[in-house]
Every structure is written in C-alpha cells, then in structure tokens.
Amino acid sequence: MFCIQPSPIQIEKLRAQCLADRAGAYTSFEGWVRDLNEGQKVNSLEYEAYQVLAEKEGTSILAEARERWDILSAVAEHRVGHLAIGDCAIYVGVSSQHRAAAFEACRYIVDSVKDRVPIWKKEHYTSGSTEWINCHKTIESG
C-alpha cells in the first residue's frame, strides 16, 4: 500500500512492516526537504496530492517492483501539507533475500513515484516568492 498523509512519516513503523526471517537485506530511501533548490534559498515547502489517484498509482508502482524483482516487501509513504527544512517528505523501504534486488527495486520505486504519481511541490523562498516545481511556463503554445 502506498499512502499519502499529512502527519510526520513514522519510519520505524514502515520499516517494521518489512521485517521477515527470510530477509537478508533492507534498503530505504528518504526524501528530505532541503534548504536550497537551483540556487534559491528555500524556507519551507507545500506538497499537494490528488490523493485517490496518487495512492492508486503509487500502489501500482509497488506491485510492479514486486513483479520485477525478487523482493519480500516494499512500502512507501508520501507526506502532504506544509513541510519545514529537514522534514521527511517520502519514505520507501524494500526488503529482500539478497541486496541487489532491494537496491534496484527501491531506486525504481523512488524514480517512478517522482515521475508518475500526482503530487506537486510548491517552494517558498526566503525572498518571499513561491514556485510550483516543474510548472514553469514554456514558450511553445499548446
């Protein structure tokens, strides 16, 4: 299950879901809010999600990872709302018997979530301006 929710991500709880006697490897990824993006000082962030579709798409990504790699468990959670520098925005954890599968599946999940899941990020800069990331105007007409 891929979960979108507004409270701080409970890493220890998610990790515990991946424990298994057969598991020899566990890889996790955390996305943290950082203070600088493309040269601009960031104050805080807002994440917004199209929750129903985001959870559906995220859950599909986890299922794809389980199909493609020999893993035992995969969990992921994304936070929404107002986040401060250092807050954890996304957590992904994968357990497997052997490490290669855990590393590759974890990377796949993170990359796919960033690519496909309808979640948006608005950066608030120390300058006072804000910006929806990846939503710059382009010249091309559409």
């Binding site: 199209y50 579709l53 925005a89 309808p118 979640i119 948006w120 990020k121 608005k122 939503c135 559409g142």
Partner: protein, 79 residues
Amino acid sequence: MQLTLKYFAILREQRGLSEEVIETELATAAEVYRELKDTHGFSLNSNQLRIAVNDQFVASDTILKSGDTLVFIPPVAGG
C-alpha cells in the same frame, strides 16, 4: 453534458477554486482544456498535462461522457 472539474496545485491557484461543475458540448479533455486556458489564463500548455477521468489516467483525446470527473494533471514533483 455535465462535467465535474477538479483542480490541483498551480491550476487550482490560477482557477481560484478546487472543483466546479460545467456544462459543455466539447468532446475531449484536450478541447475542454483549450477553452478553459483561454477563459482563465492557465499558464500550462496542454502538452505539459496528463489527464484523469474518474480517477484513472486516460489519453487526452478520450471521448468524455456526462457525469465524468475530469482532472488536468500538472507536471508532478513528488519525492
């Protein structure tokens, strides 16, 4: 026909609301967006969007039917 539109992120802000119901005879999401962009001055071009109908991703030329819920999905930035 009647469509429910939901707006997220930059489109929500530019539209000034999260949801509205419209009456239209336009057949596809692409056509609907073109009209809305003109009306509301949305900054995103249609080639930057993905489309969801009834909480499923669909092609932008999918034929809409009355009662559909339509979402224009701006470029995502999760993680």
